[in-house]
């Protein structure tokens, strides 16, 4: 059995070499022009791959034997460009890709790579031009079609982006990126339920994709499936931590908590009582103590406070006792109203707070 390190070796009879591989005046097997043409053909094939090729013409049995072995650590120009991209050296990557395209303009992978770079740099016309050339050469390549869809979306043409991405999904029904990008465009277009379906498809094939998880949560939130959206956001907060996706998930949970609270009734008597209790407690506290309390709750809230489950209790350093999530949020809201009115604390308790102030002042 061969080892992966063995060279590639093949032997062909001169007569088995396809005439169409060689120029018309070099097709006479064994002649000098034939040998030169065969060597040129092989050079053209193997030169970009590096390594060492040995070509032997066996006159006795009229055969050709080729040995080719890769050089350790050899990188093709395309690999060098891709490495430069991964290291963030975009100008080097662009120069290498341009040089490659100048040499072999019909290579869809090269056109795709440069198109993607331009797309990420916001040079959308250049990107689309290259990507469309790549698609013409390799029309069944879903990645290229997805990239065109992304360019259309970035250019603000959502309808065309959606059409293009639907075509990508037709070509490659299991491509998670096609579904993810289509979901994102549909969500922007206001078609949240369809978007959710595509994010789910994306997650079927790429379950760890944070953008698809976020997209699914946002789609569910937009379509009113708040509890399911909240579950997805919770999972994201655990996995994404303090990344931008994690922060967006936290914001999503806050919005959902707010919406669920408002859904429960127009005004919450428990919130009114928590605000009133806070106003009374603050009478005996300095502004600095109130500020410290407000900040501590805000920091706690960054990890997520469940304001819809009164059985879930939290403790504070700056105030003794066990508190429900809603109690803490009411304390925080009141605290900020006292020391920094107008601060957006991510939840609107203004109606309950106004009534609490009225009751407090009427005592």
């Amino acid at each position: 059995m061969m080892s992966p390190d063995d060279p590639l070796v093949f032997t062909l009879a001169w007569d088995d070499i396809a005439p169409t591989s060689l120029p018309e005046d070099a097709r006479q097997p064994g002649g000098e022009a034939f040998r030169v043409a065969v060597i040129r053909f092989l050079q053209k094939q193997y030169e970009p791959l590096g390594g060492k090729a040995r070509i032997i013409f066996n006159d006795a049995d009229r055969t050709l034997t080729v040995h080719w072995a890769k050089r350790d650590g050899f990188q093709s120009v395309l690999e060098k460009a891709q490495e430069a991209l991964s290291l963030g050296d975009r100008s080097v990557a662009i120069s290498l890709l341009k040089a490659l395209i100048a040499r072999t303009p019909d290579n869809p992978t090269q056109l795709y790579n440069l198109g993607m770079v331009y797309s990420d740099d916001g040079k959308l016309e250049l990107a689309e031009d290259l990507l469309r050339k790549a698609a013409a050469l390799d029309p069944r390549n879903a990645h290229i079609v997805v990239a065109i869809g992304v360019v259309r979306a970035r250019a603000g043409d959502l309808e065309s982006a959606i059409d293009t991405l639907r075509r990508a999904v037709e070509i490659e029904p299991e491509d998670p990126f096609a579904h993810q990008n289509l979901g994102a465009c549909l969500l922007k277009q206001g078609e949240a339920e369809s978007a959710a379906a595509h994010f789910r498809q994306s997650l079927r094939h790429s379950p760890d994709s944070l953008p698809s998880q976020l997209g699914l949560a946002q789609s569910l939130e937009s379509s009113g499936s708040l509890h399911e959206a909240d579950e997805v956001y919770q999972g994201l907060i655990k996995t994404a931590g303090h990344t931008p996706v994690g922060e967006w998930a936290k914001e999503g949970r806050t919005r959902i908590a707010h919406a669920l609270m408002r859904k429960a009734g127009s005004e919450r008597p428990d919130v009114l009582m928590y605000c009133l209790g806070a106003l009374e407690r603050f009478e005996e506290m300095t502004d600095e103590q109130i500020q410290t309390l407000g900040r501590e709750i805000a920091i706690l809230g960054m990890r997520g406070l469940d304001i819809n489950d009164p059985s879930q209790k939290y403790t504070l350093k700056s105030l003794p006792g066990d508190f429900s999530g809603m109690h803490l949020v009411s304390l925080m809201y009141t605290a900020f109203q006292r020391v920094a009115p107008g601060t957006d604390v991510g939840i609107d308790l203004s109606r309950e707070y106004a009534q609490a102030v009225a009751l407090f002042e009427a005592r």
Binding site: M1, K70, P173
Partner: protein
């Protein structure tokens, strides 16, 4: 995911899908690197055998075999198929081999059987294998080194078929079909790696175009396992060997 995790994940998925355990066993007598035998009524486990030589690429080989098994299991029972040779197939090939007069008369029978069965196995496994490999390539970047080592080893062996000694013995029908499929295999990897090294011999010998046509079939026929039989039949027709083999339900 590490290669070991990918391997475990593939085994778990197959067990969940078929509701049958997978037994992984080393088998030094295996002619190739790995093989899976799907559970039957008489054998309530899937048996995945691997050669001791497969150790460096075991994770990939397990994932690949599981992928093939999953494709068979996902297809409805009446869509599961075999590529079978019949007595008539062997007779036809023997006749072609005799006409070549390149193999000693005493060996015509066994030689014909070997090349007929080999081509049938290649037809059954190669187009579906390319699909499974493409899926693994995209879904499991952590397996790519092992996958590449296996693929390169296969391609270095396959290219031996172009040798004039082989060509002079094999009937054109068998030779051309084998080499066209080998060309398609090399071109498929070339597309994934963006590297044409292994397709070069086939380009020089004029088989690349037929290889591309076979690969185009993979793009034309839907990827779902329920279309695997259609794909194999389309390849057989394109290679003009559709009358040689019966491509039908398991156990035909």
């Amino acid at each position: 995911m590490t290669p070991a995790q990918a391997q475990q994940h593939a085994l778990n998925e197959l067990e969940e899908l078929g509701g049958k355990p997978v037994v992984l066993q080393e088998d030094a007598s295996l002619p190739n690197l790995a093989r899976i035998q799907i559970a039957t009524a008489a054998r309530p486990v899937h048996i995945l055998s691997y050669s001791p030589k497969a150790a460096p690429e075991l994770a990939y080989l397990v994932c690949f075999q599981c992928e093939l098994a999953k494709r068979s299991l996902v297809a409805a029972p009446d869509e599961r198929f075999n590529v079978a040779s019949s007595a008539d197939t062997y007779r036809q090939v023997e006749k072609l081999v005799q006409q070549m007069k390149a193999v000693p008369a005493t060996m015509v029978g066994s030689y014909s059987r070997i090349i007929t069965d080999g081509l049938g196995t290649q037809l059954r496994s190669m187009p579906i294998g390319i699909r499974a490999d493409r899926d693994l390539f995209h879904a499991h970047p952590e397996l790519r080194d092992q996958q590449r080592a296996c693929a390169e080893r296969s391609m270095k062996e396959n290219v031996g078929c172009l040798h004039p000694n082989i060509r002079s013995q094999a009937p054109d029908l068998i030779f051309l079909a084998t080499v066209a499929m080998n060309a398609a295999f090399a071109l498929a990897w070339g597309r994934l790696w963006n590297e044409d090294a292994h397709a070069t011999p086939y380009r020089l010998a004029g088989f690349a175009e037929r290889g591309e046509q076979l690969l185009d079939m993979l793009d034309t026929i839907p990827k779902s396992p329920t279309h695997d039989r259609e794909l194999v039949s389309a390849w057989a027709q394109m290679l003009a060997i559709d009358r040689l083999y019966q491509i039908g339900p398991v156990g035909l």
